[in-house]
């Protein structure tokens, strides 16, 4: 597996997650910091079905998507009841709760040790053992995700979501159900996150709770912010750029003792700088 291959595959997976976060945070205005938890559930479900040889890859992905749709609706329900900042804390709580479950429910998730040896994905009865096949699969998943995002956003549903983000009350006054639109957005975001989780599990062949923790959720948020909220281009640019950044930075000569902290520091500076000078990100709309 070449370096570029794994970079492209991971970035594709994160694009799906970026779309999910963008739908929820950027478009529906639900500030969720628990998308990594839903991502994780998708990954564990697919891992479970494949490792126990219950179904093949595609049905497992479908099951994961359906479960994550239900889960995401459930975790965003509080957002429909409590207002912005309160929901952030609720969402933090959901994320920590999920991490606690991933870490402690040893029988289902392998606990903190994680699940090694997840079989590679298979299509039409053929296992995709070659790395380029897996990369193509991830790219395909990303393309499908992007297509769906594009279709949805150009349809009346997309316009409705944009209107909701601007003014919920005005939308209610025109006779549309804000609740229904938000639940639909949450469902779609759940499907994206669940699919991304399944691809991630089969691509890495190993998952553990550390990939689905609060930091992962915040990284996702950074990707959307840097790429740009509410646009397809932003959701693609963000993950590709942020996953490349640490690799690019290692080519720069910084003393190794502080290089690592410096890298994280740069994420922070990026967040501040973008918020101060370019809240729309590289290719997005105003947050």
């Amino acid at each position: 597996m070449d370096f570029w291959f794994s970079y492209i595959a991971l970035a594709s997976i994160y694009v799906l997650l970026g779309l999910s976060t963008n739908l929820l945070v950027g478009i529906a205005g639900i500030f969720s910091v628990s998308q990594a938890a839903v991502f994780g559930v998708g990954a564990y479900i697919v891992a479970f079905f494949l490792m126990n040889d219950i179904t093949s890859f595609l049905p497992a992905m479908a099951i994961a998507a359906v479960c994550c749709i239900a889960l995401n609706i459930l975790v965003t329900l509080p957002a429909l009841r409590v207002s912005g900042d309160y929901f952030v804390v609720t969402s933090f709580g959901i994320q920590l709760l999920a991490t606690a479950v991933f870490t402690n429910w040893t029988d289902g998730t392998g606990g903190a040790n994680g699940l090694p040896g997840i079989p590679p994905p298979d299509l039409a009865g053929k296992a995709l053992e070659e790395s380029w096949q897996v990369v193509l699969l991830c790219l395909g998943g990303m393309a499908l995700g992007c297509l769906i995002f594009w279709l949805v956003m150009r349809a009346p549903f997309g316009r409705l979501l944009r209107a909701i983000r601007e003014d919920e009350l005005a939308v209610a006054a025109t006779g549309k159900s804000v609740l229904r639109a938000k639940v639909s957005a949450a469902a779609l975001a759940g499907a994206f996150a669940g699919t991304a989780g399944g691809l991630y599990a089969t691509f890495l062949s190993f998952i553990d709770p550390s990939s689905f923790d609060l930091d992962a959720s915040i990284l996702l948020l950074t990707m959307v912010v840097v790429g740009g909220a509410r646009t397809l281009a932003g959701s693609i640019i963000g993950p590709f750029l942020l996953l490349a950044l640490p690799q690019i930075l290692t080519l720069v000569d910084i003393p190794t003792t502080i290089a690592a902290a410096a890298r994280q520091l740069i994420y922070g500076v990026l967040l501040i700088a973008f918020m101060l000078f370019r809240p729309q990100g590289l290719a997005g709309e105003k947050l």
């Binding site: 009346p156 209107a163 005005a170 006054a173 025109t174 549309k176």
Partner: protein, 254 residues
């Protein structure tokens, strides 16, 4: 005959403040009814109650004989009552035509499944709905600006657009919160002409208005609200010329 819209003994209080106090009135179908009264009389509150944004503490509102108690805003719009807001609340990051489109009811592709699985069908339906929206914009005289973003429209144009948006809902009873305030005289004439033509098309209008000149020109019927209570109801002439009401309106307001 059942009254078209009837409010009976509506009470609303916020904390210790009584916004509506035993407020009762009826309005007639096909009329332009103007709602006047000093600031804080409860005009916007009655809008909120009728459109389901606010639950009254007691009392009820019936529309064509049907009580609207506990209805959600979208159900009330579906029943045929739609409103505007005093501060407009347009979707400023959307174009004029998208603002209207966003308010058209029952569009295919308004939920994600149709959008994903029947994209061509949705696109075709959108083309038809866009025609419809453009027609509504044309109705209020904004067809030339359909593709412009709302934030680039003049205030007068925004006021027309908000009427277009409420028209798009297909409601028969339109509640307009100060549609003519802050307009230049030219724009004022346009709005008044539009309101009259809407009435002639069979719409019923309930309009909050401060400008007595406008009231006299457009109103078929006037409701005078004071301290959350209906003080008087009558033709524009009788209300405007009532010295007691003028005292409340001009003297009491300051």
């Amino acid at each position: 005959m059942t009254p078209y819209l009837q409010a009976s003994a509506v009470e609303v209080s916020f904390g210790g403040l009584r916004a509506l106090n035993d407020c009762s009135f009826t309005i007639q179908q096909g009329h332009i009814t103007c709602l006047v009264g000093p600031n804080g009389a409860g005009k916007t509150t009655i809008f909120n109650v009728i459109t389901g944004f606010l639950k009254p503490n007691s009392g009820s509102v019936t529309f064509k004989g049907q009580p609207l108690d506990g209805w959600k805003p979208q159900a009330i719009v579906a029943a045929g009552i739609a409103r505007t807001f005093q501060n407009l609340r347009l979707f400023v990051d959307l174009t004029a035509v998208d603002n209207v489109l966003a308010s058209l009811p029952g569009q295919t592709g308004e939920e994600p499944l149709a959008a994903i699985f029947r994209p061509f069908h949705v696109a075709a339906a959108q083309r038809r709905r866009r025609e419809e929206a453009l027609a509504i914009l044309d109705r209020v005289g904004l067809s030339a600006r359909s593709g412009d973003f709302v934030r680039n429209l003049s205030y007068g144009e925004q006021k027309l657009l908000i009427i277009a948006r409420v028209l798009a809902t297909g409601a028969e009873l339109l509640l307009l919160d100060e549609p003519a305030s802050g307009l230049s005289s030219g724009a004022l004439e346009d709005v008044m002409a539009l309101l009259r033509s809407l009435r002639n098309d069979g719409k019923t209008l309930l309009v909050v208005e401060h400008n007595t000149r406008v009231v006299q020109k457009i109103a078929d019927d006037v409701l005078f609200l004071h301290q959350g209570h209906l003080m008087a109801q009558g033709s524009p002439e009788t209300i405007v010329n009532d010295p007691a009401l003028a005292e409340i309106y001009f003297g009491g307001a300051i």
